[in-house]
Symmetry: C4
Subunit: 272 residues, 4 copies
Amino acid sequence: MKRWQQKIHEVIFGYHTTAGRVFDLSLLVAIVASVLVVMLESVKDLEQHYGEEMRIIEWVFTFLFSIEYIARIVSSPRPLKYITSFMGIVDLLSLIPTYLSFFFVGTHSLSVIRSFRLIRVFRILKLTHFMGGAQQLATALWGSRHKIIVFMGTVSCIVVIAGTMMYLIEGGQNGFTSIPKSIYWAIVTITTVGYGDIAPQTIFGQTAASILMILGYAIIAVPTGIVTSQMMADARRLGTITCSNCGEEDLPNRSRFCLNCASRLNNPPDQK
Amino acid sequence: MKRWQQKIHEVIFGYHTTAGRVFDLSLLVAIVASVLVVMLESVKDLEQHYGEEMRIIEWVFTFLFSIEYIARIVSSPRPLKYITSFMGIVDLLSLIPTYLSFFFVGTHSLSVIRSFRLIRVFRILKLTHFMGGAQQLATALWGSRHKIIVFMGTVSCIVVIAGTMMYLIEGGQNGFTSIPKSIYWAIVTITTVGYGDIAPQTIFGQTAASILMILGYAIIAVPTGIVTSQMMADARRLGTITCSNCGEEDLPNRSRFCLNCASRLNNPPDQK
Amino acid sequence: MKRWQQKIHEVIFGYHTTAGRVFDLSLLVAIVASVLVVMLESVKDLEQHYGEEMRIIEWVFTFLFSIEYIARIVSSPRPLKYITSFMGIVDLLSLIPTYLSFFFVGTHSLSVIRSFRLIRVFRILKLTHFMGGAQQLATALWGSRHKIIVFMGTVSCIVVIAGTMMYLIEGGQNGFTSIPKSIYWAIVTITTVGYGDIAPQTIFGQTAASILMILGYAIIAVPTGIVTSQMMADARRLGTITCSNCGEEDLPNRSRFCLNCASRLNNPPDQK
Amino acid sequence: MKRWQQKIHEVIFGYHTTAGRVFDLSLLVAIVASVLVVMLESVKDLEQHYGEEMRIIEWVFTFLFSIEYIARIVSSPRPLKYITSFMGIVDLLSLIPTYLSFFFVGTHSLSVIRSFRLIRVFRILKLTHFMGGAQQLATALWGSRHKIIVFMGTVSCIVVIAGTMMYLIEGGQNGFTSIPKSIYWAIVTITTVGYGDIAPQTIFGQTAASILMILGYAIIAVPTGIVTSQMMADARRLGTITCSNCGEEDLPNRSRFCLNCASRLNNPPDQK
């Protein structure tokens, strides 16, 4: 790997140098700005007045991101691995629509996919402060995955059965025209979103809906309890010590003796 | 009990053998697929185009589930107990509608009850990973049942009284045509679902509704607090033992020696 | 106090004897049944068909509750204190409407106040199981009252200011006809109820509404956090021991010496 | 600083003397009353009947608040610092609109800004009881700021991408006329507000919306978990000290002797 490659790699992928941080910040601003342009382009009024200007700005951003994409490939120690990685694919996908709209007419509607480039801001999570926070959240969610799957499975079953029942009770004339639509209504209801585009009209339907609402209102406590208790268990584990004799981990930090080998512990007072 | 019965029993009810797991997984796929067919059958457009195909698929699934049902009965050590168990009844109920629709015209609307067969997927919870998660959730909910009943009772009273008041304040011309309907509105409001099919129009009604909303928004904290604190208390209790020598409590249950007095612990490995 | 008074008192106010429990349960059933009649009476269809029957049932319940009310007064050691207590007033108020409707025409609309007699079911909380749960909930809510008031005050201010801003941004033509109505909208939005009877139409209004929604979504975490941490702090306090030497309370139950007088503690292993 | 200045300062800024508390309470009542007048003035009916009276009341309040504002300036040890402080600016801003409406016609619509003077009630938080609660809430939120930013960033990305997808799926004819409007819908949905002014009509849109709703329903657990675990970690940290002899941690901070080794603790009474 050449010296100039290493230099570029440090700036683009790293975040320890000043240059690296300035690059990250500029990229963040550029991504957000380009997504804003995509969003505003979809507003009819603005498109008619500033359409030309916005297309020019879009081309500038696409040009910059193209250079960045090439720089990432050439500076990467294993270019193919980068190209086929999730972030590499997102980087490429956020460039393609602009080029496509140049060559083919009618692909403009596709060009809104460019707003998916917002996913790229997650790179900035490399910034250490937030990495810690993100890590803890991810750990808590991962640690409670079994309970979350059980919970989600139960909610899915409730929603399918409630949807079927409402299809039977209310029927097509009240908006419950099919079971999938009724299930959609049940999801709208149990998550307490409640659009009101479909709502029960009969007394039996309203009674069944009431039960579903109260259920939804009460069981929101379950995922909350899962995540909270997982987070706190994780937090507690952080405050533990390790035996220097046998290497046993996760000892409560009030321990005077190792719970595994019974050797006396020297509890350094400065440990966090 | 004969050998072939034991063999079948192992596959159908067990999950320790490879055959048992393959069976469970196939059953899961079959149940979900058959429920999907029931759902799609209720969509008018699809029914008109693929009605015949979907009825054939349904008969195939019903045939397979019938074989499974018979296999469960013959391989069960106590067939009658299985038939009268909750799961046994669900198994039977999910077969009947298809046969009924064959013999009687007009029972087709009943046939959507087949989607209740989704309940059968809960068998798969036998898979150990999820069993643990489900167990913990159930324990937490059961342990806090008194508080949940008190909470639900209080919410019920609030909802009835709020409904009555709104019936008085708003009256029939604004959609609050009867007390049951007003109570339905109160449930829609306190659970923060908020369809908007019935909404207060007068200034007094809107004030009363505001109070109810804030109440609903605030008291969601109560079930959450109940379940969370119960879950954490359970988590703490499950994981600890007490030293019989010095009385030190809250020792991690993998402990071989007391962390306080270093005496050896007789840690029965099977304690829960 | 005479013997027969004591006997009645035991049955009506007590819950230790079998007679007392049977009375409580009968009362619970009677209250719920009578409130159901009040509710159904407000449904036009039912009123026209079964109006006469329901009025008779109502008179039977009123008669029974009147007897109960008199029995409570005569058996009470201090009748005046009972009559002027909250529950005494509720008991009386739930009787008056029926008698009023007999003497005065046109007071029938007032008679729905009878459904307030549902408050009377809270007597049943005397039943010990639920008393514990209710007590813990009440303690947790009372212990965190300062934080809850601060939270509610902050939400009130946010709602008033958001309402004023939306009145300026959207104005009367989009449904925000006055500041009180805009505040009503803000409450509907921040509590995530979202009826949709009033909704922002302009791009600025929708942006402001988005901020309010995200705020409401995020700060629901605050009351939940308050109540949960209070509940767990309360739960932890339950697991403490008291020094038999100096009477110091709330010692962590791993204590070997009193933290106040340094006397050795005999940590009885069976304490809860 | 003169004696009379000190006297005024004590009453206006202090809360230890009776006069100071009476002043605080009067101010609280005056602020709330004046904001109520602003609110009621915006109601057309009331404005037509009591417009004159309300304007007089407004002038009385403005006069009183002007005196208060001058008193704050003259009694402040560093007047310029007060004037340029956040609270000083709010104090001034809540006076200006009334004077402006006197000199210029057409600035009346601006006068609703007066309701922003509600912010001034936060001064009352000086009252010690609530200060503690507010402090704890602020500490918990500040301590978990990194996690909250990560969470908010993730939600923002989800909302932008979901909005773009719905714009593609549903298109303008179903109300999703532009990406910003679709993002507004995504926020309304993920926060479970659900106005229903825009709602998906196609089967694909409803499926995508269902996923977004369930996501919103599930991830509400994350901020709740963050705040709750932070609050409890804070609560634990505030209340404990460590023995300098044996290193035992988590001792209640009223401890005079170590609960493990009984050595005397030097417990500085002012430690937080």
